[in-house]
């Protein structure tokens, strides 16, 4: 092997090693980003759960003629729909975990919006606060538990 063949072989080897390292760094980096986004989504879900809880507790303390009711009604509806979308996207690849989350989300949804929710002329029901509080914390807990049960991504090629 003459001098230039040696130089070429060494250069090619260095190039392949550099490309390989870059590729590995990339797929590990993308997986880390995915994990960070999942954690961010869990944080966002908890924030929305407790915002909805606060709004719902206020809603059920008010009498039907309070002019704030339609605004709170809309805010609760919007948050519940967004929460369902967020959690389904987060657990889309994990059917069993999504099923667990949806069961608890529906209990929270019921605690907040069943009975006389959106009914004109209804009376205040401050005693619902307890049920709403309990179901909100159960949903937050279930979200955290299911997140921990998700298989961790160490790399992602595509």
């Amino acid at each position: 092997m003459d001098f230039w063949q040696t130089v070429f072989a060494a250069g090619l080897g260095a190039f392949i090693a550099t490309m390989g390292k870059s590729w590995l760094t990339h797929i590990v980096g993308v997986a880390k980003l995915d994990e960070s986004l999942r954690d961010y989504d869990v944080g966002l879900a908890k924030k929305i759960i407790f915002e909805t809880r606060d709004l719902a507790v206020e809603y059920w303390q008010l009498e039907a003629d309070d002019e704030k009711l339609p605004v709170i009604d809309a805010a609760v509806d919007g948050r519940l729909t967004f929460l369902g979308q967020l959690l389904e996207r987060l657990f889309a690849a994990e059917t069993l975990l999504l099923r667990r989350i949806n069961l608890q989300l529906n209990k929270f949804h019921d605690a907040v919006t069943d009975g006389n929710f959106g009914v004109s002329g209804r009376t205040a029901e401050p005693n619902r606060a307890k049920r709403i509080e309990i179901e909100s914390f159960k949903l937050a807990h279930e979200t955290v538990v299911c997140r921990r049960k998700m298989p961790r991504k160490f790399f992602r090629i595509f």
Binding site: L83, Q85, L86, E88, H109, D110, D114, F117, V119, G121
Partner: protein, 109 residues
């Protein structure tokens, strides 16, 4: 096919006509009962609406049970479609309201 957002309301909510457009009673009376009485089958498409409060779903579907339709009759007549993200769970909620109304009726009788 009954597409709720298009054929009824994009903002379903409330139980009774006095609660405004999109209430559960109107949906039950004008869209569900005619299909049940006709003996035909229908697909209910839940996509496109802004969400479904439990009170609306209970009045619309639980109300069918209180009107005398059996859960078997309702499940046999209607099938549900929900492809929007986060909307499949509303199908479970509808089933729960029908089953709950059935057991409440059985307890009362």
């Amino acid at each position: 096919m009954i597409k709720i957002a298009k054929d009824f309301s994009e903002f379903p909510g409330g139980r009774y006509p006095k609660d405004g457009d999109g209430n559960g009673t109107d949906f039950r009376e004008n869209h569900l009962v005619p299909v049940l009485n006709s003996g035909e089958k229908a697909v209910i498409d839940l996509d496109g609406a802004q969400g479904y409060p439990s009170s609306f779903l209970e009045e619309a579907f639980g109300g069918l049970v209180r009107m005398g339709f059996t859960a078997e009759n309702i499940f046999d007549t209607f099938s549900f479609v929900a492809n929007d993200p986060g909307f499949k769970r509303f199908i479970d909620l509808i089933r729960q309201h029908i089953e709950r109304a059935t057991s409440q009726l059985e307890t009362a009788n």
